[in-house]
């Protein structure tokens, strides 16, 4: 697959604090690449550096191998987003597409068809002020894709959306990727990202934690965990084989199993006198990996950092 965007060894400091350190990744044509991380991880800073809204202290960004970023081929939905208040929906869409040098006539057609698609038919001449928050976000989304960008960068596209709109956005993002748009999105909502992205780049405190294919990452990090409800002795649990660690919180114990453990076989190791109200066994989700990182937990750090 053709590489659209390459980010190499990006560094940026604010005052004395290094916000991102040696960030490198690429985004390919037709794929959805997710940048994940807790608040303050440096996701938005990375994206702003790509968009030329900030300039990196060190590192290189190239688009199809050229250092010059053609802004009119990129669509951008920033995290801090809004629209001019006292203007009409169609006016602002046409203005933003004009800034991207997109032909007026085509822009108008696309604007109307997208408004219809997003259930905003007939709102073209409404003032932005009259729109609800959700409607406004739809218009912002349309404005980022109206000029048929080759690369679409979405910073927290799902934040503040209701579930219906989330599905709509997800569907549209996937549709765009299928048609060959390279998509870079950032999020802290793992469950949404987990099911739609092809590759992910997880960062924390400005550094890379995990980078790779979704499937590879899941296979590598998503071990089994066993959750037991019922009073039990921590020492007994810790004596069990193939354990990475045990977390106990009152009546609930979570046993993190080692890699490549056969779940059924392992269950046979449970002592007969173990008090079990409930017992479940499942894989660690991306969400948990993420929480773990965000709270400076263990999984990824002990696993080492690279998996490309």
């Amino acid at each position: 697959m053709e590489t659209m965007l390459t980010v190499e060894k990006l560094n940026k400091s604010f005052k004395d604090k290094q916000v991102i350190r040696d960030i490198s990744f690429d985004v390919r044509k037709g794929e959805i690449m997710a940048v994940l991380g807790p608040n303050g991880a440096g996701k938005s800073t990375t994206i702003r550096n790509i968009m030329g809204i900030m300039y990196p202290d060190a590192g290189a960004i190239s688009f199809r191998g050229h250092a010059e970023i053609p802004r009119h081929k990129i669509g951008y939905l920033p995290e801090e987003r809004g629209l001019y208040k006292n203007v009409k929906v169609m006016d602002i869409l046409l203005y933003l597409s004009e800034l991207k040098d997109y032909p007026l006539k085509k822009a108008r057609e696309r604007a109307l068809s997208y408004l219809k698609k997003f259930g905003l038919e007939g709102q073209a001449n409404s003032s932005v002020e009259e729109l609800s928050k959700g409607m406004g976000q739809k218009v912002q989304f349309i404005s980022s894709i109206i000029h048929e960008p080759e690369l679409l960068i979405l910073d927290e596209p799902f934040s503040g959306l209701d579930p219906v709109s989330q599905e709509l956005f997800k569907h549209e993002i996937r549709h765009l990727a299928e048609n060959g748009t390279a998509i870079l999105l950032s999020s802290h909502q793992m469950n949404l990202v987990e099911e739609m992205c092809d590759r992910l780049f997880m960062m924390h405190n400005g550094e890379r934690i995990i980078y790779g294919n979704m499937d590879d990452v899941k296979e590598r990090y998503a071990n089994f965990k066993c959750t037991v409800r019922g009073k039990s002795d921590l020492d007994v649990l810790q004596g069990l084989p193939d354990l990475e660690r045990v977390e106990q919180d009152e009546d609930t114990s979570v046993l993190y199993l080692a890699k490549d453990v056969q779940a059924v076989n392992w269950l046979k190791n449970l002592p007969d006198n173990l008090s079990v109200q409930e017992l479940s066994i499942d894989r660690i989700s991306l969400h948990e990996i993420f929480i773990d990182i965000a709270t400076d937990g263990n999984i990824a750090q002990r696993e080492g950092v690279t998996h490309a």
């Binding site: 968009m51 939905l77 801090e80």
Partner: protein, 417 residues
């Protein structure tokens, strides 16, 4: 440059579709001109009520000459001849208002005294007005003495002292050797005031619309659209686009203003040839000064505006900057009373007062101090250039700073970075 024009076009379009801008567009000239002409309209109606009834008992046969004199002097008189005798005048006057009786007989020629009887109520300056009639009587007096026409002309001519300062002599010499523009206008004050007022209206309009920039600069921040816009264009282009856009809006405001002002002026000041005085070469320089003034304040406002979270949270520092365009008002008194004085010169060289003070001086002064004008314009152009550079730096950082106002210390840091 193309992106700059796109932004400019957008700003103009956006404002012209905005109701409150449109209302302001038409209300400003209406209010301004309304107040300006309110007094004179009021004055007119008062004058109309005070027409003075003047009866002349003419034994000398000069009534027609007197009537002509009164007419050319635009006295608000209604003149009639009368046969009323001096003894009966008292009874006649008792029952009337604003009435005067003038008795012209041999006493006027022999003793130089003309008796005037007025009613109790009479226009306050009537006795001053009546002196105008002394000229035709004097003329008659001299004719009776048998002077020739030539002698008459010499005697009846009044003696005047004509003042020329050394400054003016130098200037008029200069004017003769250079373009000759300067020295030719000395008679009618409107000759300069009209283009001056024209340029003043342009300056006022575009500086006022420049103040919209203040609001507009923080607009992208307030509406959180800054990053979306900056993903397509550079901060510099956005800033220039705003400056150009509001310049366009200012010109539209000026055009609307003048569309009111010119017809009203022509109607109110019917003896002044407004249009003839308007389209003179001086206008180009004056308008150029006004436009330079706009760019100076636009650069200042766009830079400082970008440091605010929004208009309502303007701090002291930002508020003071907003008052700068009104600084020339301090200079009005001193400049008008002494257009070449020290205060006027100082005002000319301070960039923020240059446009206002220079325009005032050019209207008042007979001879234009070209060297001062050139130096002042040079200072102005350099200041604009520096301010634009600084504004660019401040704007670039400020436009992305959400939620709080920048302190002067922070702004200083951005400038140095």
């Amino acid at each position: 440059m193309r992106n700059t024009m796109k932004v400019a076009k957008w700003e103009i379009k956006r404002n012209l579709k905005n109701k409150s801008f449109l209302i302001g567009l038409f209300l400003t000239p209406v209010l301004f001109l309304g107040f300006m002409f309110f007094g004179s309209l009021f004055g007119d109606s008062e004058d109309g009520a005070e027409t003075t009834q003047v009866y002349v008992n003419d034994r000398l046969g000069v009534f027609e000459t007197l009537e002509e004199t009164a007419e050319t002097s635009e006295l608000n008189w209604n003149m009639k001849t009368t046969d009323v005798q001096e003894n009966n005048v008292q009874t006649e006057l008792k029952s009337s208002e604003n009435t005067a009786y003038i008795f012209l007989d041999k006493r006027a020629l022999d003793d130089g005294v003309i008796p005037v009887y007025t009613s109790e109520e009479i226009a306050s300056d009537f006795m001053n007005q009546v002196q105008i009639l002394s000229n035709p009587v004097k003329l008659m007096q001299m004719q009776q003495l048998g002077l020739s026409d030539k002698e008459l002309a010499a005697v009846s001519m009044t003696i005047q002292f004509e003042e020329t300062t050394s400054d003016e002599m130098a200037a008029s010499d200069e004017a003769k050797t250079t373009s000759g523009n300067g020295g030719l206008f000395s008679g009618d004050p409107f000759e300069r005031a009209v283009p001056g007022a024209f340029a003043g209206i342009i300056l006022l309009s575009i500086v006022v619309s420049g103040m919209y920039i203040f609001q507009s600069a923080s607009n992208e921040k307030k509406d959180k659209i800054a990053e979306i816009i900056l993903s397509s264009i550079t901060p510099g282009e956005l800033m220039q686009g705003k400056i150009m856009g509001y310049f366009g809006l200012g010109m539209i405001q000026a055009a609307v203003f003048l569309a009111f002002a010119i017809p009203i002026s022509i109607w109110q000041l019917d003896n002044v040839q407004i249009l003839e005085y308007l389209f003179v070469p001086e206008l180009i320089l004056m308008v150029a000064i006004a436009i330079l003034g706009y760019f100076l304040f636009a650069a200042l406002f766009v830079g400082v505006g970008a440091t605010m979270a929004d208009m309502s949270s303007a701090g002291n520092f930002q508020g003071m900057v907003m008052m700068l365009p009104f600084l020339p008002f301090i200079f009005i008194g001193p400049v008008i009373s002494d257009p070449s004085g020290l205060v006027a010169q100082v005002g000319t060289y301070i960039p923020f007062t240059t446009p206002g003070v220079l325009l005032m001086r050019l209207v008042v002064m007979e001879e234009w101090p070209w060297s001062e004008i050139i130096i002042a314009l040079a200072i102005l152009v350099v200041s604009i250039w520096i301010l634009m550079k600084l504004a660019g730096k401040i704007f670039k950082t400020g436009i992305l700073m959400y939620g709080k106002n920048a302190t002067p210390a922070e702004i200083w840091k951005w400038i140095r970075s």
